[in-house]
């Protein structure tokens, strides 16, 4: 015990308190093991979220920016994304990316786990939809999912709360999809539409991407973590992990070195280490954990740690309408379309994408959109041009399945370091021809939807340069140690007490937001650990 911190060996150390780390910690509490979670940021204070102040839009470009290189908070580390056309978006702190996500909360489909078998590309997952289904359901219960049963794009599932309102904007876009004869459905969202488990219902603040002051959006600091902490998990904040130590005799992880809030290096011994830092943070730590036994980084004898980075290329397609729509009011997540989700090679690409409705934008964002695109001039014409856009923009983004390619990587930058001197990650990524074809197709079809209901002016960005929210595939799971980093239940092939529970696990990316699947995987992996407690470290 030192300074109130117990540095005696923990049964489990979890690195990262975001979407997956929270779920993993909660699910392991019934084992009565001593669980310590190390988080490089602190707790959020919802009373300080941007939507509580008059400068709510401005703060989306400063302390609540989605890009850590812009945000530069004490909790952040730099990421070199110069060689990546899609810039990183993440958040560091208790809750992780769920603080800033939109709460758009789709599941994967059965076909997403069988990409190679069905479409002859990439690899199949070592698990299937049926394996994950009970974990989806359990995660839904903790998170609180709103939506509408009966979506013809999915196997049956039962949302726990009614869907978010369509509003004027959602109705407009829904009419567009109906006019084309295409699928749409109310989105599954991690936003409470009724009081749920101590959280109040959504009041349409409309600024979900920068923290929900109402607490309606299910970030893990207000869902999993309170329950996990009540059950005895120790969540240690402001702890930036430097490396995982390995016993060179046994090849097992033996603890974690980290810098505490005072900048002092500490060592937390552990019998089990769980990585929960997602697709950039996890390979960064593994690659920084070099030893005599693992000179190329921990769990990396395959050379695959950090490879196969997937990002979900986005296209944004908005229309400008004559009539007033929702504008700044309400969450974006009202509906999705999966008309083009399943493979049809006649479209010129394999796999597919989801359209996610986007409701509108605030007064400052409208001004900047207009100014940067040349639609709003300086001078006399400013006000009329502004009013032609204000509350009259809505549309959608296309979130495209990104196929895994070994040359898309997270490596260690040879120069860039964080505030503690730890080598920073570098993302290297090339947009594939398949993704480009998919993006082009998505833009064309979305334009048809919006024009069908009267959009005269279209605003398109493809790929969306700011859209690196989804960081996946860099410690992929699989049965073959030569083609994967962890096995079918999340244990590193090389290190029998090292587990991964975050988006790094993904074999393929699907064409949907990953958080619901990440959290369900975290429950699945930790359930596998619980079932194997007596022989957890046995050889395969």
């Amino acid at each position: 015990m030192s300074g109130g911190i117990d540095y005696s060996p923990a049964d489990v150390v979890i690195i990262g308190a975001g979407a997956s780390g929270a779920a993993a910690a909660w699910n392991l509490t019934e084992t009565r093991m001593r669980i310590v979670c190390l988080e490089q940021g602190g707790w959020m204070n919802p009373a300080e979220y941007p939507s509580t102040g008059r400068d709510w839009e401005a703060r989306s470009q400063s302390d609540f920016a989605i890009n850590p290189n812009r945000r530069q908070l004490k909790s952040d580390y730099p990421v070199n994304d110069d060689d990546c056309p899609i810039k990183i978006a993440n958040f560091n702190g208790v809750g992780g990316g769920t603080i800033l996500y939109a709460g758009h909360y789709p599941r994967f489909h059965p076909s997403d786990f069988r990409v190679a078998s069905l479409d002859g590309v990439a690899d199949d997952w070592p698990i299937d939809y049926a394996t994950l289904e009970p974990y989806y359901a359990e995660n839904d219960r903790i998170t609180g999912v709103s939506g509408l049963a009966g979506d013809p794009a999915y196997p049956a599932k039962q949302p726990l709360m009614p869907p978010l309102p369509l509003g004027r904007s959602g109705q407009k876009v829904a009419q567009g999809f109906d006019a084309m004869g295409w699928h749409w459905w109310p989105s599954d969202t991690a936003i409470a539409t009724t009081p749920y488990n101590g959280r109040d219902k959504c009041i349409n603040l409309g600024f979900c991407l920068h923290g929900c002051a109402q607490g309606a959006k299910a970030s893990t600091d207000i869902t999993y973590w309170p329950e996990a902490i009540r059950a005895g998990v120790e969540l240690r904040t402001w702890c930036r992990v430097k490396e995982i130590a390995v016993d060179d005799d046994t090849g097992m992880a033996c603890g974690v070195s980290y810098y505490d809030e005072q900048g002092e290096e500490q060592f937390q011994p552990a019998h089990i280490v769980i990585m929960a830092c997602n697709g950039v943070g996890t390979p960064r730590i593994l690659l920084n954990s070099r030893s005599e036994r693992f000179p190329d980084g921990l769990a990396n004898t395959s050379g695959l740690v950090g490879t196969h980075l997937m990002l979900h290329p986005y296209a944004s397609i908005y229309g400008v309408f004559d009539e007033e729509l929702d504008g700044y009011r309400g969450p974006h997540d009202a509906l999705w379309s999966q008309e083009f989700y399943e493979t049809d090679v006649s479209r010129g690409f394999v796999r597919g994408f989801t359209y996610e409705f986007n409701r509108g934008r605030g007064p400052v964002a409208t001004a900047l959109t207009g100014a940067f695109s040349g639609r709003i001039p300086w001078g006399e014409g400013h006000h009329d041009a502004y009013r032609a856009l204000f509350n009259r923009i809505c549309g959608m983004v296309a979130i495209c399945e990104d196929l895994p390619e070994a040359h898309n990587t997270v490596t260690l930058d040879p120069v860039l370091r964080d505030a503690h001197g730890i080598p920073a990650p570098k993302m290297t990524y090339t947009l594939s021809d398949n993704s480009r074809a998919m993006l082009d197709f998505a833009v064309e079809r979305a334009s048809e939807v919006l024009q069908a209901v009267g959009a005269q002016d279209l605003m398109v960005e493809s790929p969306l340069s700011i859209g690196g929210w989804h960081l996946m595939g860099t410690a992929r799971m699989g049965n073959d140690p030569g083609n994967s980093v962890v096995n079918a239940w999340g244990r590193a092939h090389d290190v029998r007490n090292l587990f991964v529970v975050d988006g790094s696990l993904f074999v393929t990316s699907a064409g949907v937001n990953p958080t619901r699947t990440i959290q369900s995987l975290a429950l699945y992996v930790t359930d596998q650990m619980k079932k194997r407690l007596t022989n957890l470290f046995d050889a395969p």
């Binding site: 939507s51 509580t52 102040g53 008059r54 400068d55 709510w56 839009e57 401005a58 470009q61 400063s62 489909h109 059965p110 076909s111 786990f113 069988r114 069905l118 009966g150 013809p152 794009a153 196997p155 309102p165 369509l166 509003g167 004027r168 109705q171 829904a174 999809f177 109906d178 004869g181 699928h183 749409w184 109310p186 959504c202 009041i203 349409n204 603040l205 600024f207 002051a213 109402q214 929702d326 700044y328 009011r329 309400g330 999966q338 008309e339 989700y341 399943e342 007064p363 400052v364 001004a367 900047l368 100014a371 940067f372 040349g374 001039p377 300086w378 001078g379 400013h382 006000h383 009013r387």
Partner: protein, 141 residues
Amino acid sequence: MTRTIATDHPFSPDEQAQIARLARLMVPASAVHGVPAADDALILADILHTARSDEVRVRAALEFAGGLGVPLEAAVPRLQGAVEMLPLVVVVMQCYYRDDRVMQALGMEARPPFPQGFEVPQGDWSLLEAVQRRGRIWRDA
């Protein structure tokens, strides 16, 4: 928020005057719409305060605008599309469109979103009937 001690300001008086001129060129007053210009005293004070947090990039924008060799008024066609001006444009728009008078002229309440929130109508859910009639579209695996 706007109680800045003039002598403590990172921008010189000349730079502050240039910011004011550029702000007015971007967003002039409008009697028709009942809104002030962006160099209105309250808005300008907010702009000058906010610009402090992006001092280097805003100063670069000022240097770009001042370096064109023509009066600012004549330079507007070149300035309004110039990427070099973006940091200043961002600051001006952020401050202008959170001013009480401007928000009210747009029909908004001059308040942050929380805690009152906003009303969003449910919309017409009967639009789903066409989708329901099509039936399942997901693949077995």
